[in-house]
Symmetry: C2
Subunit: 340 residues, 2 copies
């Protein structure tokens, strides 16, 4: 038996959450429902609750359709998994593209007001025609919990490196199940496409008797918002501290092309290392070009448990249209080494 | 004492090589000389001798200035360090951009003909106004050879991981010196900017008494030609065979963006693995976008001496604008695994 029940959007339990015009986006059907609503109603203003990947991608889409877009979230930090200087670069990109950001505003209720909606938060009221609630996802693990199977982080179904649950005859794969983190060795829950897809293949192999040993995830992720690419891999400073490392981070600003080239844009790289072992623990990047695939070099380094010094010594590609002689990743590593 | 004499263009020893209008491109001064010649003479047709990085980049530049461009090389294979299918993609790109390619044509002599030049090869005569000779570089190691220091591959000055020559009080760094290859562990000569620059820093550290231990190079390189990005890291199939591996290669064609995205372009990835150990030995890529930095993931994997299976398990970034769920590198690894 294989449990592959995926994840579901977290439902904000506030009054008015079921009003017409209040949407979530997880499934293809959700997407079609949003498109239909936009086509049939006169939507000029939208409020997005949440500021994660999906919320930010939707902010871009709705701005491109000409809507006024406001975003609210309860906690004070925008993109808390990004080093603050890097998060500020993304924040400014959204502001420059006309998105109004309201951190520290907890959603209290949504009211129907004539043909419109009113979003009421702590310290903020916004009139709008549509509300998108994008406050994260949660694993669909109830069937496993009810069957008495072990659960892991975030309530995801606990599985071993062969995708078996605590009952060896029951497998689980996809966004409903947990995984090992390659940096900490501990369990984690990362509901992203590659990991989910890979676990599905692994479950099929395991069931068919092929040896399977999943290495685990580095938590590598990337998204685009307007003209920016934003990427991460491994642990944040806070996550590294919680995992028992003695983490230090350092960010640098570099350029996406050599100084002889026109069209270069800024590229910001933050690296996190462990003062005790010298190990590379994580990386974050923001920039207009050359970020999405650049993050994969530190991601592979995390799998290999490289030290920052070893990563600094890697032979990365150079040509003037694609970066400076010293790749921004290597510059970041050389600067972090001074703090380790 | 530090020897940092760099490299010089290989001079084709044929009659007419010193005629006005026959140029090389290595130094800034060479570049200025070419620019001046183009500005002062009525140059409509150029012949480029050689088909390496510099030759191909010059072909693009000269085409953009509106010149007719022909390229000649003596050996039959175009870009012999690229798997043939990938080399064909680059070959077609040059043809589509109006560059005439003549492989198997050895330069015999250059003649002055009224105000023009005539390039005479085996089986080909080309009239032109300018000849660019770009047939590679050679290390400037004569001073070291005359001093009795050991030389390494290609006649480069042999240095250890502390950049010391065979006389421990004499250091050498840059394109004049050799390096260790991280895949073979053997000496190699790779005259590329990052390696040269890194060796300079290492020599300074070593002289100042800071401990230095250069890991070596993976031979990672990238260049752009017209709309294509072409990259490599590690060993080719032939190089891997010569180094004692039992190499197998496999190429795949994938897409630069997810199938839901407009603007996706083809991306070709060739991976080389060792049948005996399962180790990843090299990678090559061609495509219109997402190649230049994508090559760094296998480059880091080579430094870590990963197997193809370990590389296949790495958690690479995914978002629809930047690639399919399974990065082309991972697809290539999964297909190569079937042959190992």
């Amino acid at each position: 038996m294989l449990i592959a029940t995926g994840a579901a959007p977290v439902k904000a339990e506030v009054p008015g959450i079921d009003l017409p015009g209040v949407m979530v986006l997880k499934t293809l059907e959700d997407g079609r429902r949003i498109k239909q609503f936009l086509a049939e109603s006169r939507v000029r203003q939208a409020v997005i609750v949440g500021m994660g990947y999906v919320a930010l991608e939707m902010a871009e889409s709705l701005r491109q359709l000409g809507l006024d877009v406001s975003m609210v979230k309860p906690k004070p930090r925008f993109l808390p998994w990004l080093e603050e200087t890097l998060a500020d670069v993304v924040y400014r990109e959204l502001e420059e593209n006309g998105v109004q950001l309201h951190t520290g505003c907890a959603l209290e209720r949504i009211e129907a007001d004539a043909n419109r909606l009113k979003v009421i938060c702590s310290g903020l009221e916004s009139d709008c025609d549509m509300v998108l609630v994008a406050v994260g996802v949660t694993p669909n693990s109830r069937i496993a919990a009810q069957a008495g199977l072990d659960l892991g982080p975030a309530g995801a179904i606990a599985v071993n490196r062969q995708t078996q649950t605590s009952d060896a005859d029951i497998y689980a794969a996809g966004d409903c199940a947990d995984a090992h983190h390659v940096v900490t060795g501990r369990k984690t829950w990362v509901p992203l496409a590659l990991r989910a897809n890979r676990a599905g293949w692994a479950a099929a192999d395991a069931v068919c008797g092929r040896p399977v040993e999943l290495q685990g995830v580095a938590g590598t992720a990337v998204f685009r918002v307007f003209t920016l690419q934003v990427a991460r891999t491994g642990l944040t400073l806070a996550e590294a501290g919680e995992a028992g490392f003695e983490p230090v981070e350092n960010w640098i600003e570099s350029r996406s092309r050599a100084h002889t080239q026109t069209g270069a844009a800024g590229i910001w790289v933050n690296l996190i290392g462990d003062k005790k072992s010298g190990r590379l623990l994580g990386a974050q990047m923001v920039g207009k070009e050359g970020v999405a695939h650049r993050i994969n070099a530190p991601a592979v380094a995390l799998h290999a448990k490289m030290t920052v010094e070893q990563f600094y010594q890697t032979d990365l590609a150079y040509a003037p249209p694609f970066g400076p002689t010293w790749d921004p990743c290597l510059v970041a590593a050389s600067q972090l080494l001074k703090k380790l």
